[in-house]
């Protein structure tokens, strides 16, 4: 049966040395954290390792957790930090600038073919091609925009939780999230033609 204790209670129980509490936290968050990290770093093995690193850090820092705060944003803070560190160590950086989406040669193949075919081309994309194209475009977004798009859209975190996780005001969350969607929309439009998003 699923553990009904709140996240914060589980962490407090773990701190108090009660067995099983941390295991419940891990079981509760591994699936969504794996999805977040996989999208963030784009590598299954790395996401696997980063999930473990995240919970290891949660364990090591549990004593410094403020019990008045929510656990989930804190978990995402740690997780996002681990992902950023990983990307920096790997030297992965091929972000496209906001002014020149799609100029770095990535996303050729399906996307390039579709772009040449006009407004209806987006409908001709097979599901797999569409998913692959979206993944590549998100992967090419600047890190701070990709991060907030993952948290806000794919992980569906409330604005307040994102604000806490990234340590920015809620107003900044909204404006950055809007910038992220705008950026993606422009990349998408660039790839699949004006039919994808033209008004």
């Amino acid at each position: 049966m699923a553990d009904t204790r709140r996240d914060e209670e589980l962490l407090a129980d773990h701190l108090a040395g009660r067995s099983g509490a941390f295991e419940s936290l891990v079981a509760r968050y591994v699936p969504e954290l794996f999805a977040f990290l996989y999208r963030f770093v784009g590598d299954r093995a790395a996401a696997d390792d980063l999930v473990q690193e995240t919970f290891l850090q949660v364990h090591l820092s549990a004593g410094s957790f403020d019990p008045q705060r929510a656990f989930k944003p804190w978990l995402y803070t740690i997780s996002a930090n681990k992902a950023r560190d990983y990307l920096r160590q790997r030297g992965r950086r091929h972000e496209a600038s906001l002014d020149s989406p799609g100029v770095d040669g990535d996303g050729q193949g399906a996307a390039a073919g579709v772009a040449a075919n006009g407004p209806d081309a987006v409908d001709q994309l097979a599901d797999g091609e569409r998913r692959e194209l979206v993944r590549r475009l998100i992967d090419r977004m600047p890190e701070h925009l990709r991060e907030i798009l993952l948290l806000g859209y794919f992980q569906q975190l409330p604005y307040a939780d994102i604000a806490e996780a990234l340590d920015i005001p809620v107003g900044t969350v909204k404006s950055r999230l809007h910038a992220a969607v705008t950026h993606f929309a422009r990349l998408w439009e660039q790839r699949v033609g004006s039919g994808a998003g033209e008004s």
């Binding site: 099983g20 794996f34 996989y38 290891l56 004593g63 993944r135 999230l177 809007h178 998003g197 008004s199």
Partner: protein, 335 residues
């Protein structure tokens, strides 16, 4: 949507699920009345349709990721609890240490090393014990699945009168370690080889890719748990009491099937050789799985039916490898 247009914030909030019911209703009214806004809405719908298509584009996490994560945490240093810093605590006070101070400091160091280090090790061991318990429970679930599919019988890989579960000097004996009976649940994929390795041990799992090629655990170190001796009367899920122990941390008085009774009292200074706990958790006790699927931590091996000792058979003094339980409630756990 052209490049110099900004996206309408409310439309984005609509797609991000950030609008209240009343805000959503108001926006719907605006959309109905404002063709330009409706056009932008349609444009944005295309973008979110694309994003939605990638929402499921994530592989499932590996099935053993939770287990590996817990094991990694259990093996980590113990928790650090931050102590609030008092105002002025960091002020440097210059002073000269006298002999009394040195002695006091030395006493503190001895105290910390003597009390602190063992307690830290104990915390780590406790974490490993919890992980071990969870893994034994997984094995219990796999055994339950097997029993359900085999009319209540526990995992069993066959037995013959010529067989021996211990290394034998008899050249005609067919050596079949008792651990072999657990292999069917690994073959069936209902438990991973890694789940059969207690984190307190140095045992190593069989590579998952090799499971299909094998009929048995190639080495005793591929399994951390002792299982009910299947060479005699065997318990069944339907008839035997559910609190009968059927698996546990490894038996301390057998080593790979070889009986160690002669060594045990001498090595451990025990008056009663059967009183010894499994060595898996530093001799403090053992995790025990019952037929009903419950895992309990016991500090004595006399936890079978009617306080039966789980390491030995009733009325048997010496073991050659062919002995089995005379009753289905006689627990005798070994690898």
């Amino acid at each position: 949507m052209s490049h110099d247009q900004t996206l309408d914030g409310q439309l984005l909030d609509l797609y991000l699920g950030a609008l209240s019911d009343s805000e959503r209703a108001a926006l719907q009214q605006r959309l109905a009345a404002d063709p330009q806004l409706a056009t932008r809405h349609a444009a944005l719908a295309g973008v979110f349709t694309a994003l939605r298509s990638a929402a499921s584009d994530v592989p499932e996490p590996p099935t053993d990721l939770i287990q590996r994560t817990c094991a990694r945490v259990a093996a980590a240093p113990p928790l650090r609890v931050r102590r609030p810093v008092e105002r002025g605590e960091a002020t440097l006070v210059r002073r000269v240490f006298g002999l009394r101070d040195v002695i006091a400091t030395a006493a503190m160091v001895v105290l910390i090393v003597g009390v602190g280090v063992p307690s830290l090790l104990h915390v780590r061991e406790r974490g490993q014990r919890v992980m071990c318990s969870a893994q034994l429970a997984q094995l219990g679930q796999a055994m339950g699945s097997y029993a359900t599919a085999h009319a209540g019988s526990l995992p069993f890989a066959g037995w013959s009168p010529r067989a021996s579960w211990a290394p034998s000097s008899d050249p005609t004996a067919e050596v079949r370690p008792n651990r072999r009976h657990l292999f069917p649940v690994v073959r069936a994929g209902t438990v991973s080889p890694r789940a059969l390795i207690c984190p307190s041990t140095t045992d190593v799992p069989i590579p998952a890719a090799k499971v299909r090629e094998l009929e048995d655990f190639p080495d005793a170190r591929n399994l951390s748990f002792a299982y009910q001796n299947m060479a005699g009367r065997r318990p069944t899920l339907n008839r035997t009491p559910s609190d009968m122990p059927i698996a546990a941390d490894d038996n301390p008085i057998f080593d790979r099937g070889r009986f160690l009774m002669a060594d045990i009292p001498t090595r451990l200074g025990l008056q009663h050789p059967w009183a010894v706990n499994s060595r898996t958790h530093a001799g403090r006790g053992q995790n025990v799985l019952t037929l009903g699927g419950r895992v309990i931590w016991t500090t004595s091996p006399d936890v079978g039916i009617d306080a039966d000792n789980i390491w030995t058979l009733h009325g048997v003094q010496g073991y050659q490898g062919r002995e089995g339980p005379g009753a289905e409630t006689d627990t005798h756990l070994l690898k």
